[in-house]
């Protein structure tokens, strides 16, 4: 052992305290940011077509108004009023679509804040979400003074749990209708049509419970979210479908139950759809 240095502490020169070590841990462990998806080709084509249609319509309308003014002032004013009213309504509709579409972003912001563990961002997302809740819905109120865990628990108990119950009730009502339509419908094609229409309506109804009033774009976005959440319940659905059909596939049962089996499966799908829609619109993950 001799000749080897012995353990020792070598103090830094000076007596000033040293800053605490910083390994840049937060940066090292930060979850990888998924590459920005940007606009898809279809979206770009759609947007381009919309710009062309709307832009050229505006230009054409402008030219037309100018031509009318050239003929007579009163004709020009009248044409301008008609064009303004028409385009005004179109822009109001676009604005409503956008608002409905962007409102769903509140859910994303709140969930991202939960995932990051960022209380300040979560508080602000929850405040924005509360402001958009429909009239008459119980709201958790001011969450600024309580710990974020307690605030989340209050939001869950006071608002999200009653909404989930209402969504389940809507699902049951839709299920009864789907069951009835499937049982009496003359063709499977009509079944699918009715089921599809009722399903979209149900998803929009559940979204309205959460304070979202999605337009067409919002509904499409919402349906995509619901499809993702529905994947988790799909396996149960498949199992129930198989079980019901298996149970009622004997000749005797077929005579007794007839098409009611298919109706039962359709009804159950409606209830699952309501649950998946509620899951997709929840501001806090379950």
């Amino acid at each position: 052992m001799s000749g080897r240095p012995t353990p020792r502490v070598i103090l830094d020169e000076g007596t000033a305290p040293a800053p605490r070590l910083d390994f840049g841990w937060e940066v090292q462990v930060a979850p990888p940011v998924p590459p920005a998806r940007g606009w898809s080709t279809m979206a770009l084509i759609g947007l381009g077509a919309a710009v062309l249609v709307l832009g050229f319509s505006l230009l054409e309308a402008g030219n037309f108004v100018a031509a009318q003014f050239a003929q007579a002032a009163w004709l020009g004013w009248l044409t301008l009023a008609v064009a303004t009213a028409g385009f005004g309504l179109v822009f109001v509709a676009i604005g409503r679509e956008l608002r409905g579409y962007l409102a769903l972003g509140t859910v994303d912001r709140a969930r991202a804040a939960v995932a990051r563990g960022d209380p300040a961002a979560l508080r602000s997302a929850l405040a924005a979400w509360q402001a958009g809740l429909p009239e008459g819905r119980a709201k958790p109120g001011d969450l600024g003074n309580m710990p974020i865990n307690a605030a989340c628990a209050l939001v869950e108990a006071k608002t999200l749990a009653p909404i989930a119950q209402d969504a389940a009730a809507l699902g049951r009502a839709a299920a009864v209708q789907a069951f009835a339509v499937t049982a009496v419908s003359p063709s499977p094609a009509l079944d699918a049509l009715v089921f599809g229409w009722r399903g979209i309506r149900l998803v929009r109804q559940v979204a309205a419970l959460h304070g979202f009033r999605p337009g067409i774009a919002g509904t499409v976005s919402l349906l995509r979210r619901v499809a993702v959440d529905a994947a988790t319940v799909a396996a149960t659905d498949v199992a129930v479908d198989a079980a019901v059909r298996g149970l009622l596939s004997s000749r005797l049962a077929e005579h007794v139950a007839g098409e009611a089996a298919a109706g039962a499966v359709a009804a159950r799908r409606m209830m699952l759809l309501a649950r998946a829609a509620d899951e997709a619109c929840r501001v806090l993950p379950r």
Binding site: T6, P17, L21, T232
Partner: protein, 462 residues
Amino acid sequence: MDPLSLLRGLLDTTEDAARALVGRERIRLAVTGLSRAGKTVFLTSLIANLIAAGRGARTLPALSDATGGRIRRVFVVPAGTETVPRFDPEAHLGALAADPPRWPERTEDFSTLSIAIDVERRTSLGGLLPERRLTLDLIDYPGEWLLDLPMLRQDYATWSGETLARFRRGVRAAAAAEFLAFLDALPADAPAEDALAKRGYTLYRDALRACRDAHGLRFLQPGRFLNPGPRGEAPLLWFFPLPEGARGGLADLCARRYAAYLDDQRSTFLDPYFSRFHRQVVLVDVLGALHAGEEAFRDTGDALAAVASIISGANWLERLLGAAPTRVAFAATKADHVPTRARDALAALVEHIAFGARGRAAQSGAAVSCHAVAAVRCTEDAVARLEGQAVAAVRGVLLQDGRGATIYPGEVPMKPPEPDFWDAGLFTMPEFRPPRLDPAGTSGMPHLGLDALLAWLIGDLL
């Protein structure tokens, strides 16, 4: 195994099987370690890093890789109606992150916490099926109490004989000189006088404290003499080891109290918490033992072997009932106190110091692995010039006065050192300030090797 334990084991095994069937396994992870091995900080870091990993942070890359990135969510299981205090990772993390920071105080009582880990299933339909939930039951407790476990298989006479034999040699003899003198002066047929019992207890307890604090020894029994816990020093503790020839009322009184003490420890400590667990990690401050000298180093190995003979040494019936751990990890803690190149040596050394304990665990069919970990990394690598040589060292900020310092921890041998190694004398490693931490624990805590340890310990369960 008595019939009641057998029945309880059968019921627990049935419950485990039912939980596994529905994807709701409950795993009891025993974090064992002698006093000051770093159990509380280990648990705090484990919980903070697991929760951050559940949020997508790469705090435990090896565990994440072992599970194929299927961890979806980690959260603390809400409290039920437990009568045991709850382990408070937020408070410990807050204290470490505070300015000035504080390391956790010596653990005085039990506390428990359960962590739920939601993972996607392994199968190709994993994305469609509901997630599996693994619940990890964790417990923190005074490390000194662990040494009571070997006493459960000894009667008072055997324990007295072995304890006094240890106390009559080495540094213990000097630390316990007053107690040994008291014993020598005691007549063999001393009456059952409480004054004598209490005097003997006080001297013995002081000897144990001196052995622990001044000499870094760990094989010190009974544990509650050093750390009486929340109930304080009850008359139950007023006993001490007596020589073989003692026959009188005092010997009977000490034997009765010894038996009562063990009954109490069995019912409050062993049976509820140590009778059944699935995985075990044994934390060893091997560097501290190395710096405390040859006797402390050997003593730590003996203490580990004695504890392992009870905890890991299961018989065939216990193994059949799933009451024995199937994986046992031995971890040298405070690995950040040595430079990177010495950490492999630290892991190799823990393999040697835990030789007896590993043997017991392996005999009972458990897979055994050795690691070097730092639950909270407090230093960075540095180079020091000592006596003309450049040596690998570590640099950190001292806890006491906040000054920066470079520490050369000495050579870390890969196997038990040769006799001349101890000529270097004793060394006390200073305490470091933890690095800058987020008090909310959003990104977990910087660590060394915790992910590899967890990947080995529970990776196969996820």
